[in-house]
């Protein structure tokens, strides 16, 4: 499972200012791939609003080389699954995935796409990994734009390392572990009063 704090290893080793560089071919290829993600947004539910937010100038994930949406799966290599997938939609999603050209990656946006969330019922697929392999999960209902950006960076990191194991975006800050204004401090203050 990839973590963001592990920085990508340097792809290029400069050679003493002599105007040449040595690297492995796979590293160069991965480096090129990670900054030219053509995305196919498969947007089905309310997470789509958050997707619009993160793709618009305020958060702007085009900064990370992932700006061009392609509404044909044949021209895209990153499938964003944004929102709840119902059983009736599963064959459509699978077909779109199969139409994408290799190499391709899948990103589950939000809790519904990741694990189904509270839609644990007769109609819904409990996570898109039931029907297609998923590279990065972004939990949250909906996820914060920061989490989405973390997910994109995590995916790029995994592409650079050639890692196809599933990765999950972790929270930047855990309110329960916050020592200054969080739950621990609250409990301490209560117990000192009592």
């Amino acid at each position: 499972m990839g973590q963001l704090k592990e920085t990508t290893e340097h792809v290029l080793e400069t050679g003493q200012g002599q105007g040449f560089a040595t690297t492995r071919f796979e590293d160069l290829l991965h480096w090129a791939q990670k900054y030219s993600l053509f995305m196919y947004p498969f947007v089905t539910a309310c997470c789509g609003m958050e997707f619009m937010s993160v793709s618009s100038p305020r958060y702007d994930f085009s900064r990370f080389g992932s700006e061009a949406p392609r509404f044909s799966p044949r021209q895209s290599d990153l499938l964003w699954v944004v929102g709840t997938i119902v059983q009736r939609q599963a064959p459509i999603l699978k077909r779109i995935y199969e139409q994408m050209a290799e190499p391709k990656w899948v990103l589950a946006f939000g809790t519904c796409a990741s694990v189904g969330g509270f839609y644990d019922n007769y109609a819904c697929v409990a996570g898109i990994d039931k029907i297609l392999p998923c590279d990065v999960y972004i939990p949250g209902c909906p996820p914060r734009p920061e989490a989405v950006l973390d997910g994109l960076l995590l995916l790029q990191d995994k592409i650079a390392r050639g890692d196809r194991s599933p990765g999950v975006v972790k929270p930047r800050q855990d309110p329960a572990q916050d020592q200054t204004g969080g739950l621990i401090q609250l409990r301490k203050s209560r117990s000192s009063v009592g």
Partner: protein, 202 residues
């Protein structure tokens, strides 16, 4: 205001009106299933009723009752401003013969509402022009909103892919569904989580 409607129905259909009740000013009338369409036609066409709009049509499953299902309509008069809820009771305990007349000839909106009701609860509307599933896929068996449909029963249209432990793939286990987990970018928050992570990676 709708109390007068109930009285009117009682006088016009003395045999068909089984019961009526009122809650917070909303009148409900329970009628015989055989008169279901006739009563609705009267409610729509009569000068004193003028119920032009079928707001909603649905059904309720009471598994312990006989008849088992209640079909419910919500009616609204746009010209007179009054509303009425009508119910009828149909179906045997096994849920096999659940039949009531269709209201599609009276209101166009009844078409899809009755299809949904058939799809979710298995109520057959006699005389409906196109009674087939509207929400679920044709391969779906049973009616999911019936009380005897198991809450955890799914019928995947597309077979789940052949992967080990497909029911629960990592990394979702104890952190599933939490808006924030115990894991952070700075590592695992507790020894327990750390051990769990190491166990998972092997």
């Amino acid at each position: 205001m709708a109390q007068a409607l109930v009285e009117l129905l009682r006088s016009e259909f003395p045999q068909a009106v089984i019961a009526s009740s009122s809650q917070h000013g909303d009148e409900t009338v329970i009628v015989d299933a055989a008169s279901w369409v006739n009563i609705h036609r009267f409610l729509r066409d009569d000068e004193r009723c003028q119920m032009q709009m079928l707001t909603d049509l649905t059904a309720v499953d009471y598994p312990d009752r006989e008849p088992r299902f209640e079909v419910v309509t919500h009616l609204h008069s746009l010209s007179k401003g009054h509303r009425l809820r009508a119910k009828t009771r149909v179906g045997d305990p096994a849920g096999e013969r659940v039949e009531v007349g269709s209201l599609t000839e009276l209101w166009g909106s009844a078409n899809w509402l009755e299809r949904e009701c058939f799809d979710m609860l298995g109520v057959h509307f006699l005389g409906h022009p196109d009674l087939r599933r509207i929400l679920m896929y044709p391969e779906f068996e049973g009616h999911p909103l019936r009380k005897d449909y198991a809450a955890s029963h799914i019928q995947p249209l597309l077979a789940y892919r052949d992967a080990p432990n497909i029911e629960k793939l990592p990394p979702f286990d104890r952190h599933e569904g939490m808006s924030f987990g115990r894991q952070t970018h700075d590592g695992f928050a507790s020894e327990e989580d750390d051990a769990l992570s190491r166990k998972r990676s092997h």
